[in-house]
Protein backbone atom coordinates (compact mmCIF):
# COMPACT_ATOMS: atom_id res chain seq x y z
CA UNK A 1 0.00 0.00 0.00
CA UNK A 2 1.26 3.46 -0.94
CA UNK A 3 1.43 6.35 1.53
CA UNK A 4 -0.98 9.24 1.05
CA UNK A 5 -0.16 12.90 1.72
CA UNK A 6 -2.01 16.22 1.90
CA UNK A 7 -1.06 18.59 -0.94
CA UNK A 8 -3.37 21.54 -0.29
CA UNK A 9 -6.71 22.54 1.19
CA UNK A 10 -9.41 25.17 1.25
CA UNK A 11 -12.23 25.99 3.63
CA UNK A 12 -15.10 28.32 2.82
CA UNK A 13 -17.10 28.73 6.00
CA UNK A 14 -18.74 31.49 8.03
CA UNK A 15 -15.16 32.17 9.22
CA UNK A 16 -13.62 32.93 5.85
CA UNK A 17 -12.83 32.15 2.24
CA UNK A 18 -9.64 30.14 2.68
CA UNK A 19 -8.04 27.90 5.30
CA UNK A 20 -5.71 30.64 6.63
CA UNK A 21 -8.49 33.20 7.13
CA UNK A 22 -10.52 30.48 8.87
CA UNK A 23 -7.63 29.54 11.15
CA UNK A 24 -6.97 33.18 12.11
CA UNK A 25 -10.61 33.50 13.17
CA UNK A 26 -10.45 30.21 15.11
CA UNK A 27 -7.36 31.50 16.93
CA UNK A 28 -9.04 34.84 17.66
CA UNK A 29 -12.11 33.06 19.08
CA UNK A 30 -14.49 34.57 16.51
CA UNK A 31 -17.64 32.53 16.08
CA UNK A 32 -19.45 32.45 12.74
CA UNK A 33 -22.78 31.76 14.46
CA UNK A 34 -25.19 34.71 14.29
CA UNK A 35 -28.87 35.57 14.56
CA UNK A 36 -29.87 36.64 11.06
CA UNK A 37 -31.97 39.70 10.33
CA UNK A 38 -34.76 38.49 8.05
CA UNK A 39 -33.86 34.83 8.53
CA UNK A 40 -34.99 33.19 5.25
CA UNK A 41 -35.19 29.70 6.77
CA UNK A 42 -37.28 30.01 9.92
CA UNK A 43 -39.10 32.41 12.21
CA UNK A 44 -37.54 30.71 15.25
CA UNK A 45 -34.82 32.68 17.02
CA UNK A 46 -31.83 30.42 16.41
CA UNK A 47 -28.26 31.30 15.49
CA UNK A 48 -26.93 29.96 12.19
CA UNK A 49 -23.47 29.70 10.68
CA UNK A 50 -24.46 31.25 7.37
CA UNK A 51 -22.10 32.11 4.54
CA UNK A 52 -21.47 35.57 3.08
CA UNK A 53 -22.93 34.72 -0.32
CA UNK A 54 -22.23 38.15 -1.83
CA UNK A 55 -18.55 37.64 -1.10
CA UNK A 56 -18.69 34.08 -2.45
CA UNK A 57 -20.21 35.19 -5.76
CA UNK A 58 -17.60 37.97 -6.02
CA UNK A 59 -14.86 35.38 -5.62
CA UNK A 60 -16.67 33.18 -8.15
CA UNK A 61 -16.45 36.00 -10.71
CA UNK A 62 -12.71 36.23 -10.15
CA UNK A 63 -12.44 32.49 -10.78
CA UNK A 64 -14.71 32.59 -13.85
CA UNK A 65 -17.37 30.51 -12.11
CA UNK A 66 -20.61 31.79 -13.54
CA UNK A 67 -24.23 30.74 -13.99
CA UNK A 68 -24.37 28.02 -11.35
CA UNK A 69 -26.61 27.34 -8.35
CA UNK A 70 -25.54 28.46 -4.86
CA UNK A 71 -24.38 24.98 -3.91
CA UNK A 72 -22.57 24.28 -7.17
CA UNK A 73 -20.87 27.72 -7.06
CA UNK A 74 -19.66 27.03 -3.52
CA UNK A 75 -18.28 23.63 -4.52
CA UNK A 76 -16.56 24.92 -7.68
CA UNK A 77 -15.03 27.85 -5.78
CA UNK A 78 -13.65 25.69 -2.98
CA UNK A 79 -12.29 23.16 -5.48
CA UNK A 80 -10.71 25.93 -7.61
CA UNK A 81 -8.94 27.48 -4.63
CA UNK A 82 -7.61 24.16 -3.33
CA UNK A 83 -6.49 22.94 -6.77
CA UNK A 84 -4.72 26.25 -7.45
CA UNK A 85 -2.56 25.66 -4.37
CA UNK A 86 -1.62 22.14 -5.45
CA UNK A 87 0.42 21.28 -8.51
CA UNK A 88 -2.06 18.78 -9.94
CA UNK A 89 -3.64 18.99 -13.38
CA UNK A 90 -7.37 18.53 -12.78
CA UNK A 91 -7.99 16.89 -16.18
CA UNK A 92 -5.28 14.24 -15.77
CA UNK A 93 -6.24 10.57 -15.92
CA UNK A 94 -4.63 9.86 -12.53
CA UNK A 95 -6.90 12.30 -10.64
CA UNK A 96 -10.21 11.36 -8.98
CA UNK A 97 -12.69 13.94 -7.67
CA UNK A 98 -14.94 13.05 -4.72
CA UNK A 99 -17.88 15.12 -3.49
CA UNK A 100 -19.41 14.49 -0.07
CA UNK A 101 -22.77 16.04 0.69
CA UNK A 102 -26.00 15.21 2.47
CA UNK A 103 -28.43 17.34 0.49
CA UNK A 104 -26.59 19.10 -2.39
CA UNK A 105 -28.93 21.49 -4.25
CA UNK A 106 -31.86 20.72 -1.92
CA UNK A 107 -33.08 24.32 -2.39
CA UNK A 108 -33.93 23.29 -5.99
CA UNK A 109 -36.21 20.41 -4.93
CA UNK A 110 -39.40 20.59 -6.98
CA UNK A 111 -37.90 23.05 -9.48
CA UNK A 112 -37.87 20.37 -12.19
CA UNK A 113 -34.43 21.45 -13.41
CA UNK A 114 -32.62 18.24 -12.46
CA UNK A 115 -30.41 20.08 -9.96
CA UNK A 116 -31.70 18.21 -6.90
CA UNK A 117 -30.05 14.98 -8.05
CA UNK A 118 -26.86 14.79 -5.98
CA UNK A 119 -24.95 13.63 -9.06
CA UNK A 120 -25.94 16.79 -10.97
CA UNK A 121 -23.13 18.56 -9.08
CA UNK A 122 -20.71 15.83 -10.20
CA UNK A 123 -21.65 16.66 -13.80
CA UNK A 124 -20.98 20.35 -13.14
CA UNK A 125 -17.58 19.51 -11.60
CA UNK A 126 -16.67 17.26 -14.52
CA UNK A 127 -17.53 19.94 -17.06
CA UNK A 128 -15.83 22.80 -15.19
CA UNK A 129 -12.56 20.99 -14.52
CA UNK A 130 -12.69 18.71 -17.57
CA UNK A 131 -12.08 15.74 -15.26
CA UNK A 132 -11.04 12.43 -16.80
CA UNK A 133 -13.38 10.45 -14.51
CA UNK A 134 -16.95 11.17 -13.42
CA UNK A 135 -16.63 12.48 -9.81
CA UNK A 136 -17.81 10.16 -7.04
CA UNK A 137 -20.64 11.37 -4.84
CA UNK A 138 -20.71 10.01 -1.29
CA UNK A 139 -23.74 10.61 0.93
CA UNK A 140 -23.39 9.10 4.41
CA UNK A 141 -25.13 11.71 6.58
CA UNK A 142 -22.82 13.66 8.90
CA UNK A 143 -19.85 11.33 8.40
CA UNK A 144 -19.89 11.88 4.60
CA UNK A 145 -16.73 14.01 4.65
CA UNK A 146 -14.70 11.45 6.59
CA UNK A 147 -16.02 8.57 4.48
CA UNK A 148 -14.89 10.56 1.42
CA UNK A 149 -11.39 11.08 2.89
CA UNK A 150 -11.15 7.40 3.87
CA UNK A 151 -12.28 6.35 0.40
CA UNK A 152 -9.79 8.72 -1.25
CA UNK A 153 -6.96 7.34 0.90
CA UNK A 154 -7.89 3.76 -0.04
CA UNK A 155 -8.16 4.58 -3.76
CA UNK A 156 -4.70 6.19 -3.71
CA UNK A 157 -3.05 3.65 -1.39
CA UNK A 158 -4.21 0.76 -3.58
CA UNK A 159 -2.80 2.44 -6.69
CA UNK A 160 -6.07 3.20 -8.51
CA UNK A 161 -5.25 6.91 -8.82
CA UNK A 162 -2.34 9.18 -7.87
CA UNK A 163 -4.24 12.26 -6.73
CA UNK A 164 -7.66 12.79 -5.15
CA UNK A 165 -9.57 16.04 -4.77
CA UNK A 166 -12.12 15.66 -1.96
CA UNK A 167 -14.77 18.33 -1.40
CA UNK A 168 -17.37 18.19 1.37
CA UNK A 169 -20.17 20.74 1.11
CA UNK A 170 -23.68 21.52 2.29
CA UNK A 171 -25.79 24.69 2.40
CA UNK A 172 -28.51 25.94 4.73
CA UNK A 173 -32.09 25.52 3.50
CA UNK A 174 -35.59 25.65 4.91
CA UNK A 175 -35.61 21.88 4.31
CA UNK A 176 -32.70 21.16 6.66
CA UNK A 177 -33.46 23.87 9.22
CA UNK A 178 -37.12 22.82 9.57
CA UNK A 179 -36.05 19.18 9.83
CA UNK A 180 -33.66 19.75 12.72
CA UNK A 181 -36.26 22.03 14.35
CA UNK A 182 -38.85 19.25 14.04
CA UNK A 183 -36.40 17.00 15.85
CA UNK A 184 -36.08 19.65 18.55
CA UNK A 185 -32.32 19.36 18.22
CA UNK A 186 -31.47 23.04 17.66
CA UNK A 187 -30.34 25.28 20.50
CA UNK A 188 -31.75 28.80 20.84
CA UNK A 189 -28.18 29.92 21.66
CA UNK A 190 -24.85 29.26 19.94
CA UNK A 191 -24.16 25.59 20.59
CA UNK A 192 -22.08 24.56 23.63
CA UNK A 193 -20.29 21.29 22.86
CA UNK A 194 -19.47 19.14 25.91
CA UNK A 195 -20.85 21.78 28.30
CA UNK A 196 -23.14 20.87 31.19
CA UNK A 197 -25.79 23.29 29.84
CA UNK A 198 -25.61 22.16 26.20
CA UNK A 199 -29.10 21.84 24.77
CA UNK A 200 -28.72 21.22 21.07
CA UNK A 201 -26.78 21.96 17.96
CA UNK A 202 -26.39 24.98 15.71
CA UNK A 203 -26.50 24.53 11.95
CA UNK A 204 -23.93 25.96 9.57
CA UNK A 205 -22.97 25.79 5.91
CA UNK A 206 -19.72 25.64 4.01
CA UNK A 207 -17.29 23.67 1.91
CA UNK A 208 -13.95 22.09 2.69
CA UNK A 209 -11.65 20.73 -0.02
CA UNK A 210 -8.53 18.67 0.57
CA UNK A 211 -6.18 17.53 -2.18
CA UNK A 212 -4.43 14.22 -1.49
CA UNK A 213 -1.60 12.55 -3.35
CA UNK A 214 0.79 9.64 -3.29
CA UNK A 215 3.54 12.12 -4.17
CA UNK A 216 5.26 13.36 -1.05
CA UNK A 217 5.25 17.18 -1.14
CA UNK A 218 8.74 18.72 -1.32
CA UNK A 219 8.31 20.59 1.94
CA UNK A 220 10.15 20.44 5.27
CA UNK A 221 6.98 19.18 6.91
CA UNK A 222 4.36 16.89 5.37
CA UNK A 223 1.00 15.56 6.56
CA UNK A 224 0.25 11.88 5.94
CA UNK A 225 -3.32 10.54 5.86
CA UNK A 226 -2.36 7.46 7.85
CA UNK A 227 -5.50 5.41 8.45
CA UNK A 228 -9.25 5.48 8.96
CA UNK A 229 -12.37 3.37 9.39
CA UNK A 230 -16.13 3.55 9.68
CA UNK A 231 -18.47 1.49 11.84
CA UNK A 232 -22.21 1.30 12.40
CA UNK A 233 -23.75 1.37 15.89
CA UNK A 234 -26.42 -1.14 14.78
CA UNK A 235 -28.59 0.46 17.43
CA UNK A 236 -30.83 3.37 16.31
CA UNK A 237 -31.28 5.44 13.14
CA UNK A 238 -31.69 8.89 14.71
CA UNK A 239 -29.84 8.65 18.01
CA UNK A 240 -26.32 7.58 18.92
CA UNK A 241 -25.58 4.38 20.79
CA UNK A 242 -25.49 5.05 24.54
CA UNK A 243 -22.29 3.04 24.84
CA UNK A 244 -20.59 4.69 21.88
CA UNK A 245 -20.15 1.25 20.31
CA UNK A 246 -19.79 2.26 16.66
CA UNK A 247 -17.50 5.22 17.35
CA UNK A 248 -15.44 3.10 19.74
CA UNK A 249 -14.95 0.52 16.97
CA UNK A 250 -14.20 3.11 14.27
CA UNK A 251 -11.50 4.70 16.46
CA UNK A 252 -10.18 1.32 17.61
CA UNK A 253 -9.77 0.06 14.02
CA UNK A 254 -8.20 3.35 12.92
CA UNK A 255 -5.58 3.28 15.69
CA UNK A 256 -4.95 -0.47 15.70
CA UNK A 257 -3.91 -0.52 12.06
CA UNK A 258 -1.12 2.00 12.73
CA UNK A 259 -0.26 1.41 16.38
CA UNK A 260 -0.17 5.16 16.91
CA UNK A 261 -1.72 7.22 19.71
CA UNK A 262 -3.31 10.57 18.84
CA UNK A 263 -1.98 13.67 20.60
CA UNK A 264 -5.03 15.75 19.70
CA UNK A 265 -8.63 14.85 18.80
CA UNK A 266 -11.14 16.93 16.83
CA UNK A 267 -14.45 15.58 18.09
CA UNK A 268 -17.81 15.60 16.33
CA UNK A 269 -19.16 17.54 19.36
CA UNK A 270 -22.56 18.59 18.07
CA UNK A 271 -23.67 19.78 21.52
CA UNK A 272 -26.73 17.58 21.67
CA UNK A 273 -26.92 15.93 25.10
CA UNK A 274 -26.71 12.38 23.67
CA UNK A 275 -23.98 12.88 21.09
CA UNK A 276 -21.46 14.45 23.44
CA UNK A 277 -22.08 11.86 26.17
CA UNK A 278 -21.65 9.10 23.61
CA UNK A 279 -18.40 10.56 22.32
CA UNK A 280 -16.96 10.84 25.81
CA UNK A 281 -17.70 7.15 26.35
CA UNK A 282 -16.16 6.12 23.02
CA UNK A 283 -12.99 8.10 23.82
CA UNK A 284 -12.77 6.65 27.33
CA UNK A 285 -13.22 3.09 26.02
CA UNK A 286 -10.23 3.71 23.73
CA UNK A 287 -8.19 5.06 26.71
CA UNK A 288 -8.10 8.51 25.09
CA UNK A 289 -9.57 10.41 28.05
CA UNK A 290 -6.38 12.43 28.62
CA UNK A 291 -5.82 13.47 25.01
CA UNK A 292 -6.73 17.15 24.36
CA UNK A 293 -10.04 17.30 22.50
CA UNK A 294 -12.20 20.08 21.08
CA UNK A 295 -15.24 20.60 18.90
CA UNK A 296 -15.28 23.24 16.13
CA UNK A 297 -19.09 23.35 16.02
CA UNK A 298 -19.17 26.45 18.26
CA UNK A 299 -17.31 28.33 15.50
CA UNK A 300 -19.08 27.21 12.31
CA UNK A 301 -22.14 25.31 13.48
CA UNK A 302 -22.74 21.81 12.14
CA UNK A 303 -21.98 21.88 8.42
CA UNK A 304 -23.31 18.31 7.88
CA UNK A 305 -21.72 16.77 4.76
CA UNK A 306 -18.96 19.37 4.91
CA UNK A 307 -18.12 18.87 8.59
CA UNK A 308 -15.76 15.94 8.01
CA UNK A 309 -13.55 17.79 5.54
CA UNK A 310 -13.77 21.28 7.11
CA UNK A 311 -12.90 20.07 10.62
CA UNK A 312 -10.16 17.75 9.31
CA UNK A 313 -8.57 20.77 7.61
CA UNK A 314 -8.89 22.83 10.82
CA UNK A 315 -7.17 20.03 12.74
CA UNK A 316 -4.38 19.75 10.16
CA UNK A 317 -3.75 23.49 10.38
CA UNK A 318 -3.68 23.27 14.17
CA UNK A 319 -1.06 20.53 13.79
CA UNK A 320 0.99 22.59 11.31
CA UNK A 321 0.88 25.55 13.71
CA UNK A 322 1.51 23.34 16.79
CA UNK A 323 -1.40 25.12 18.37
CA UNK A 324 -4.59 23.96 20.13
CA UNK A 325 -7.85 25.85 19.61
CA UNK A 326 -10.20 26.03 22.57
CA UNK A 327 -13.57 24.31 22.38
CA UNK A 328 -15.77 27.39 21.93
CA UNK A 329 -19.00 27.37 23.97
CA UNK A 330 -17.61 25.07 26.65
CA UNK A 331 -17.62 26.37 30.22
CA UNK A 332 -18.60 23.70 32.67
CA UNK A 333 -17.87 19.99 32.48
CA UNK A 334 -21.00 17.94 31.83
CA UNK A 335 -20.50 14.75 29.83
CA UNK A 336 -20.70 11.11 30.90
CA UNK A 337 -16.95 10.41 31.04
CA UNK A 338 -14.15 12.71 32.10
CA UNK A 339 -12.28 13.80 28.96
CA UNK A 340 -9.62 16.48 28.39
CA UNK A 341 -11.57 19.33 26.77
CA UNK A 342 -9.39 22.22 25.56
CA UNK A 343 -10.44 25.31 27.54
CA UNK A 344 -7.87 27.81 26.28
CA UNK A 345 -5.77 28.34 23.19
CA UNK A 346 -2.22 27.13 23.68
CA UNK A 347 1.04 26.32 21.94
CA UNK A 348 1.39 22.53 21.91
CA UNK A 349 3.80 20.53 19.78
CA UNK A 350 2.12 17.49 18.27
CA UNK A 351 2.40 15.13 15.31
CA UNK A 352 -0.61 12.81 15.46
CA UNK A 353 -4.19 14.03 15.05
CA UNK A 354 -7.44 12.03 15.14
CA UNK A 355 -10.67 13.26 13.54
CA UNK A 356 -13.97 11.57 14.38
CA UNK A 357 -17.61 11.97 13.29
CA UNK A 358 -20.98 10.36 13.89
CA UNK A 359 -24.31 10.66 12.13
CA UNK A 360 -27.88 9.60 11.45
CA UNK A 361 -28.20 5.99 10.43
CA UNK A 362 -25.95 5.03 13.35
CA UNK A 363 -22.82 5.69 11.32
CA UNK A 364 -19.44 6.63 12.80
CA UNK A 365 -16.05 7.31 11.24
CA UNK A 366 -12.50 8.16 12.21
CA UNK A 367 -9.34 9.18 10.37
CA UNK A 368 -5.77 9.60 11.57
CA UNK A 369 -3.26 12.20 10.31
CA UNK A 370 0.47 12.21 11.03
CA UNK A 371 2.93 15.09 10.61
CA UNK A 372 6.43 14.14 9.44
CA UNK A 373 9.24 16.68 9.82
Amino acid sequence: MKKVYVLSDNVISPLGMNSEENFDNLRDGNSGLHYLDNNPFTTEQIPLGSLDWERIFNHCNEHEIDGHTKFDSLVLLSLSKAIAESNIRSSADNVIFILSTTKGNIDHLGANNGKSFLWSTAKVIQKHFNTAHFPLVISNACISGLVAINTARRLLASGKYEHAVVCGADILSDFVVSGFLSFKSLSAEPCKPFDAKRDGLSLGEGAGTIVLSIEQPAKPEVIEVASGASSNDANHISGPSRTGEGLFLAIHKTLASKNLQPQYISAHGTATPYNDDMESRALKRNNLENVPVNSFKGFTGHTLGAAGTIETIFGIHAMRHNYLIRSLGYNEFGVAEKINIITKNQAYKFNVFLKVASGFGGCNAAALFVKHE
Binding site: G110, N232, A234
Partner: protein
Protein backbone atom coordinates in the same frame (compact mmCIF):
# COMPACT_ATOMS: atom_id res chain seq x y z
CA UNK B 1 -14.53 -13.14 -4.04
CA UNK B 2 -17.97 -14.58 -4.60
CA UNK B 3 -21.59 -13.54 -4.81
CA UNK B 4 -23.11 -16.23 -2.61
CA UNK B 5 -26.67 -15.03 -2.97
CA UNK B 6 -28.54 -12.23 -4.73
CA UNK B 7 -32.00 -10.77 -4.61
CA UNK B 8 -33.86 -8.50 -6.98
CA UNK B 9 -37.11 -6.65 -6.19
CA UNK B 10 -38.82 -4.74 -9.00
CA UNK B 11 -42.45 -3.60 -9.46
CA UNK B 12 -43.02 -6.84 -11.44
CA UNK B 13 -41.49 -9.52 -9.28
CA UNK B 14 -39.05 -10.78 -6.70
CA UNK B 15 -36.22 -13.02 -7.83
CA UNK B 16 -33.69 -14.84 -5.70
CA UNK B 17 -30.57 -16.09 -7.49
CA UNK B 18 -32.35 -15.40 -10.77
CA UNK B 19 -35.33 -17.62 -9.88
CA UNK B 20 -38.71 -15.97 -9.57
CA UNK B 21 -40.13 -16.17 -6.09
CA UNK B 22 -43.09 -13.76 -6.14
CA UNK B 23 -44.80 -12.24 -9.16
CA UNK B 24 -46.76 -9.03 -8.76
CA UNK B 25 -49.65 -10.38 -10.84
CA UNK B 26 -52.14 -7.76 -9.75
CA UNK B 27 -49.70 -4.93 -10.44
CA UNK B 28 -50.19 -3.78 -6.86
CA UNK B 29 -48.67 -0.48 -5.85
CA UNK B 30 -45.49 -0.23 -3.79
CA UNK B 31 -47.11 -0.37 -0.34
CA UNK B 32 -49.31 -3.36 -1.17
CA UNK B 33 -46.61 -5.31 -3.01
CA UNK B 34 -43.94 -4.78 -0.32
CA UNK B 35 -46.46 -5.82 2.35
CA UNK B 36 -47.23 -8.95 0.31
CA UNK B 37 -43.51 -9.78 0.16
CA UNK B 38 -43.14 -9.10 3.90
CA UNK B 39 -46.01 -11.50 4.67
CA UNK B 40 -44.88 -14.16 2.20
CA UNK B 41 -41.58 -14.40 3.99
CA UNK B 42 -43.23 -14.23 7.42
CA UNK B 43 -41.02 -11.34 8.47
CA UNK B 44 -41.73 -10.03 11.93
CA UNK B 45 -40.38 -6.54 12.23
CA UNK B 46 -43.09 -3.96 13.07
CA UNK B 47 -40.67 -1.07 12.44
CA UNK B 48 -40.77 -2.03 8.76
CA UNK B 49 -44.12 -0.23 8.48
CA UNK B 50 -42.65 3.02 9.79
CA UNK B 51 -39.91 3.13 7.15
CA UNK B 52 -39.99 5.29 4.04
CA UNK B 53 -40.05 3.62 0.61
CA UNK B 54 -36.25 3.70 0.16
CA UNK B 55 -35.55 1.99 3.49
CA UNK B 56 -38.47 -0.42 3.07
CA UNK B 57 -37.18 -1.57 -0.28
CA UNK B 58 -33.58 -2.05 0.81
CA UNK B 59 -34.54 -3.61 4.13
CA UNK B 60 -36.85 -6.07 2.40
CA UNK B 61 -34.21 -7.04 -0.17
CA UNK B 62 -31.64 -7.55 2.62
CA UNK B 63 -34.08 -9.64 4.66
CA UNK B 64 -34.75 -11.95 1.70
CA UNK B 65 -31.04 -12.06 0.92
CA UNK B 66 -29.91 -13.02 4.39
CA UNK B 67 -32.79 -14.86 6.04
CA UNK B 68 -33.36 -14.63 9.80
CA UNK B 69 -29.92 -15.57 11.10
CA UNK B 70 -27.06 -15.37 8.61
CA UNK B 71 -23.72 -16.68 9.79
CA UNK B 72 -21.71 -13.53 9.26
CA UNK B 73 -19.13 -11.73 11.41
CA UNK B 74 -21.01 -8.69 12.71
CA UNK B 75 -17.98 -6.42 12.99
CA UNK B 76 -16.62 -7.40 9.60
CA UNK B 77 -19.78 -7.19 7.53
CA UNK B 78 -19.76 -4.05 5.40
CA UNK B 79 -22.37 -2.39 3.21
CA UNK B 80 -21.71 -0.69 -0.14
CA UNK B 81 -24.82 0.72 -1.78
CA UNK B 82 -25.55 2.95 -4.71
CA UNK B 83 -28.47 4.68 -6.37
CA UNK B 84 -29.43 7.60 -8.60
CA UNK B 85 -32.23 9.20 -6.61
CA UNK B 86 -30.65 9.47 -3.17
CA UNK B 87 -33.94 9.93 -1.23
CA UNK B 88 -35.66 12.45 -3.51
CA UNK B 89 -39.00 10.62 -3.34
CA UNK B 90 -39.04 10.99 0.45
CA UNK B 91 -37.52 14.49 0.24
CA UNK B 92 -40.56 15.63 -1.74
CA UNK B 93 -42.94 14.15 0.83
CA UNK B 94 -41.05 15.83 3.66
CA UNK B 95 -41.01 19.12 1.77
CA UNK B 96 -44.80 19.01 1.51
CA UNK B 97 -45.03 18.59 5.28
CA UNK B 98 -42.99 21.77 5.94
CA UNK B 99 -45.84 24.15 5.21
CA UNK B 100 -47.90 22.40 7.91
CA UNK B 101 -46.15 20.57 10.71
CA UNK B 102 -42.73 19.31 9.57
CA UNK B 103 -42.53 15.59 10.22
CA UNK B 104 -39.45 14.35 12.10
CA UNK B 105 -40.48 10.77 11.20
CA UNK B 106 -40.10 11.65 7.51
CA UNK B 107 -37.07 13.94 7.92
CA UNK B 108 -34.89 11.18 9.37
CA UNK B 109 -35.40 9.16 6.19
CA UNK B 110 -34.17 11.96 3.90
CA UNK B 111 -30.63 10.51 3.89
CA UNK B 112 -29.74 7.62 1.57
CA UNK B 113 -27.55 5.81 4.13
CA UNK B 114 -30.45 5.32 6.56
CA UNK B 115 -31.36 2.08 4.79
CA UNK B 116 -27.94 0.71 5.76
CA UNK B 117 -28.64 1.78 9.36
CA UNK B 118 -31.94 -0.14 9.32
CA UNK B 119 -30.25 -3.28 7.97
CA UNK B 120 -27.40 -2.87 10.48
CA UNK B 121 -29.87 -2.66 13.36
CA UNK B 122 -31.71 -5.82 12.33
CA UNK B 123 -28.58 -7.90 11.77
CA UNK B 124 -26.16 -6.13 14.16
CA UNK B 125 -23.73 -5.40 11.33
CA UNK B 126 -21.02 -3.02 12.54
CA UNK B 127 -18.69 -2.89 9.53
CA UNK B 128 -17.89 -0.17 7.01
CA UNK B 129 -20.78 1.69 5.33
CA UNK B 130 -20.62 3.70 2.12
CA UNK B 131 -23.47 5.10 0.00
CA UNK B 132 -22.66 6.33 -3.52
CA UNK B 133 -24.95 8.38 -5.76
CA UNK B 134 -24.49 7.96 -9.52
CA UNK B 135 -26.59 8.96 -12.57
CA UNK B 136 -27.20 5.29 -13.41
CA UNK B 137 -26.36 1.77 -12.30
CA UNK B 138 -22.76 0.95 -13.08
CA UNK B 139 -21.58 -2.59 -12.44
CA UNK B 140 -17.92 -1.60 -12.74
CA UNK B 141 -18.21 1.10 -10.07
CA UNK B 142 -20.04 -1.16 -7.67
CA UNK B 143 -17.39 -3.79 -8.27
CA UNK B 144 -14.55 -1.29 -7.75
CA UNK B 145 -15.90 0.09 -4.47
CA UNK B 146 -16.85 -3.27 -3.01
CA UNK B 147 -13.43 -4.66 -3.95
CA UNK B 148 -11.75 -1.61 -2.42
CA UNK B 149 -13.45 -2.32 0.93
CA UNK B 150 -12.31 -5.97 0.82
CA UNK B 151 -8.77 -5.02 -0.26
CA UNK B 152 -8.18 -2.31 2.34
CA UNK B 153 -10.18 -3.33 5.45
CA UNK B 154 -10.72 -6.52 7.49
CA UNK B 155 -14.16 -6.93 5.85
CA UNK B 156 -15.17 -10.58 5.42
CA UNK B 157 -18.59 -10.12 3.88
CA UNK B 158 -20.45 -7.26 2.26
CA UNK B 159 -24.06 -6.48 1.44
CA UNK B 160 -23.74 -4.57 -1.81
CA UNK B 161 -25.97 -3.32 -4.57
CA UNK B 162 -28.51 -0.85 -5.86
CA UNK B 163 -31.53 0.50 -3.95
CA UNK B 164 -33.41 3.11 -5.95
CA UNK B 165 -36.93 4.51 -5.55
CA UNK B 166 -38.03 6.93 -8.24
CA UNK B 167 -41.74 6.56 -7.52
CA UNK B 168 -44.16 3.93 -6.20
CA UNK B 169 -44.35 2.60 -9.77
CA UNK B 170 -40.69 2.75 -10.62
CA UNK B 171 -38.25 1.23 -8.16
CA UNK B 172 -35.55 -1.39 -8.06
CA UNK B 173 -33.43 -3.13 -5.47
CA UNK B 174 -30.65 -5.53 -6.41
CA UNK B 175 -28.65 -6.65 -3.40
CA UNK B 176 -26.07 -9.37 -3.17
CA UNK B 177 -23.99 -10.99 -0.49
CA UNK B 178 -20.31 -10.84 -1.38
CA UNK B 179 -17.86 -12.95 0.60
CA UNK B 180 -14.22 -13.88 0.44
CA UNK B 181 -15.16 -17.55 0.36
CA UNK B 182 -17.76 -19.44 -1.69
CA UNK B 183 -20.35 -20.88 0.67
CA UNK B 184 -23.21 -21.93 -1.53
CA UNK B 185 -23.54 -24.11 -4.58
CA UNK B 186 -25.29 -21.32 -6.40
CA UNK B 187 -22.47 -18.85 -5.89
CA UNK B 188 -21.03 -16.95 -8.81
CA UNK B 189 -17.71 -15.16 -9.12
CA UNK B 190 -17.83 -11.54 -8.00
CA UNK B 191 -16.95 -9.56 -11.11
CA UNK B 192 -18.53 -6.75 -13.17
CA UNK B 193 -20.04 -9.14 -15.72
CA UNK B 194 -21.87 -11.12 -13.06
CA UNK B 195 -22.97 -7.93 -11.28
CA UNK B 196 -24.49 -6.83 -14.58
CA UNK B 197 -26.30 -10.19 -14.78
CA UNK B 198 -27.77 -9.83 -11.30
CA UNK B 199 -29.06 -6.42 -12.31
CA UNK B 200 -30.97 -7.97 -15.19
CA UNK B 201 -32.39 -10.88 -13.20
Amino acid sequence: MYINQYVCISPDKVTINNESSIINEEKSDFRVFTKQIYRSYALQYPKFFKMDEHSRLGFLAASLLLGPEPELENENTAMVMMNAESTLFTDSQYKESISGIPSPALFVYTLPNIVMGEIAIKYKFKGENIFLVEPAFEAQKLYDHTSLIFDTTPTQSCIAGWVNVESTKNYLAVLYLVERIANSQKCITFDPTNIEKTFQS
